[in-house]
Amino acid sequence: MDSGGKSGDEKKQERKEREGNVAMSASEDVAVRLIQVAKSYGDVEVLQSFDLQVREGEFVVLLGPSGCGKSTILKLIAGLEEASYGEIHVAGELVNYVRPRDRNVAMVFQNYALYPHMSVRDNISFPLKMTRRPRIKRSAIDERTAEAAAIVNLTEFLDRKPGQLSGGQRQRVALARAIIRQPEVFLMDEPLSNLDALLRADMRASLLEVHARIQKATLYVTHDQIEAMTMADRVVVIKQGRTQQIGTPQELYTTPANTFVAQFIGSPKMAMHKTSVDGDGTVKFAGLSLKLNTDIKPEPKAAVTVGVRPSSLKIAAEPDRQACFAGTVERRDYVGSDSYLEVQLATGLHIVARTAADSWFAVGDIVHIAAEPGAFHLFDEVGNRLCGASMVMSDR
């Protein structure tokens, strides 16, 4: 992530008081940079020493449960809230002390924040009418308004009031109002969470289309992992004001940094089983040994957690080469594309595994479970990732 580029601003360097300052990357392609940003309200710390870089044109999703501080990050970048500590840079410029209107960022709000007394046309053109020095000509405003409305397919609704529009249409007005300013950065605060599921999928596609078209850095806040996984170039997982992991959707899924990320991403969520390391440094799980995908040997007797992705466990009727466990079906959950079975193993452990939606397994059946690569993850006592693991058949 750190481009490691040399700072071009030597003077700023010299002014630094603190020891060990590392040269800031002033590389041209960084649109947003947050350095040690913290925010607290009174005694409540909502954000703790948060670092982030967003490259130009990048689509970064801030993902986390509600109240984790992700919306606060957007408000800090927009200048709607003041950071308690740290620096915010937009397009290479320190903006902590720049008014929101001069920061050149646009924001789409969860509840759209449309001006209810203005027509769609006036809503969309509002940012242009506000532009001073130089003032934008009337004709140019009209032209750009029409253009922005066309991008979001609202041309025929320009004369309506927001109250006469559906939720999806309102969302598109909000989007057009953000686009029209041609800002450096787009901030989107759960923009789809007030829409119904069908519309949400549509709007996800339109948002990505718009993003591909204008190629501007976008910070997108959501608590919905599907949105994060499908839309993001990179995802920042946040919990209680702290970064848990930054990575591509794939990285988060295949190598979750800790148990929180592991459980937050993937559906159904990763099952966690507490166990401990044997005296010889191997990890036993459900009577089998795990083969660790690493050279690191966990310390003997250490408590560890084995994470199992249900979607990486497959049910087979007969024991085959890959099958590791056998057990009895306790429960069956049909989710459409697949079914998930809760299986009680001989050791008494319950695990959930995937099977085809139309499979015939029923409660009480004896089934065999095979693990795909990446099914097992090993975490240490406090929940940080140790390594991935796969099953060793030899013990059988």
């Binding site: 002014r15 008081e17 603190r18 940079r33 350095i35 320190l94 970064t243």
Partner: protein
């Protein structure tokens, strides 16, 4: 390797904390200036027509005869006088007795009318206007109307009494009747205002709750006591404090109806202040009495705020 970012070095601030502090201060100063620009029209009139008069008044409490004779410093004499003067005690008693009669009465009547207005299917608009007409009248007008209606010689009331073979009653001329009569007139004038207030709150109540309660078989009275009253708490909270402030300052009606008489039976604190300042020219005393009233009102509203908040 808890977080990926910890693999790379933690980025450092580009400016020193000192510079941040300076820039932040400048930034905040600008927002503060904007805020004061918005406040400035009000601040100007408040300073000119409230703060300066109040300060002048406060200084006067330590002096004697501000207007006519040369002002002399008399220390706390005026303040002591306000505590010893029997007329001050009378006026405080009258004010309190008046408030204790008028406020509950007007609240109950207005609440009943608001509930009735909320219940009727049609005819609400003209009824609201009719009920509000008394509130729209200046106190002098109300005073005149009732001087007239209650007149011992030709008032409707006394016509009726005479018709029943009773002696006419001089409502405003009787020392024990005058204060309740003034309270009644203020209730007449204030009912429209409080009815609108309560009605607005009633119409804003969520319907779903009532439907649920009705399905649960709650009767009308039960619904009112268990749901309406608690839901109206914020309105009552405002109403009690506002009514206290207004009624403790009662002036216009007394001034127009009885001018404190007969035999000071209706003198209120506000009227006594006015009389000290104008009729007696005793500015120091009137000023001290004003502050006594201000302090009382503040203490009472503070106490009410405290009591009403506690029960949340």
């Amino acid at each position: 390797m808890n977080e990926i970012r910890s693999a790379t070095s933690t980025p450092q601030l580009t400016l020193s904390l000192e510079e941040h502090r300076r820039l932040r201060k400048r930034y905040r100063r600008r927002t503060t200036l904007t805020a004061y620009a918005f406040l400035s029209p009000n601040l100007v009139v408040f300073v000119a027509f409230l703060l300066i008069p109040v300060v002048w008044l406060f200084v006067s409490t330590f002096r004697t005869k501000g207007v006519l004779g040369p002002a002399e410093f008399v220390g706390l004499d005026n303040w002591r006088d306000t505590f010893t003067s029997p007329l001050v005690q009378t006026s405080i008693r009258n004010t309190v007795v008046y408030s204790a009669m008028a406020i509950p009465a007007v609240f109950v009547i207005a609440m009943v009318l608001a509930l009735a207005l909320n219940a009727i299917p049609r005819g609400g608009a003209p009824t609201r206007v009719a009920l509000y007409v008394p509130t729209l009248q200046p106190a002098v007008v109300a005073a005149f109307i009732f001087t007239f209606v209650l007149h011992p010689d030709f008032g409707v009331f006394n016509f009726a009494l005479r018709g029943l073979g009773r002696d006419p009653i001089n409502f405003l001329g009787d020392t024990s009747l005058a204060l309740p009569t003034i309270a009644g007139i203020e209730v007449w004038r204030g009912t429209g205002f409080w009815t609108m207030m309560f009605l607005a709150s009633l119409t804003a109540l969520p319907n779903e709750l009532y439907h649920a309660a009705e399905l649960d078989g709650a009767g009308a009275i039960r619904r009112f006591v268990r749901m309406t009253l608690p839901l109206l708490r914020p309105t009552f909270y405002f109403a009690v404090i506002f009514a206290t402030i207004v009624n403790l300052q009662l002036f216009d009606s007394v001034f127009a109806l009885t001018d404190g008489g007969p035999v000071n039976s209706t003198i209120t604190v506000s009227l006594y202040i006015y009389r000290s300042l104008f009729a007696f020219g005793d500015i120091g005393f009137g000023a001290a009495l004003s502050f006594l009233l201000v302090i009382t009102v503040l203490l009472l509203t503070g106490l009410q705020t405290f009591l009403l908040r506690e029960r949340k």
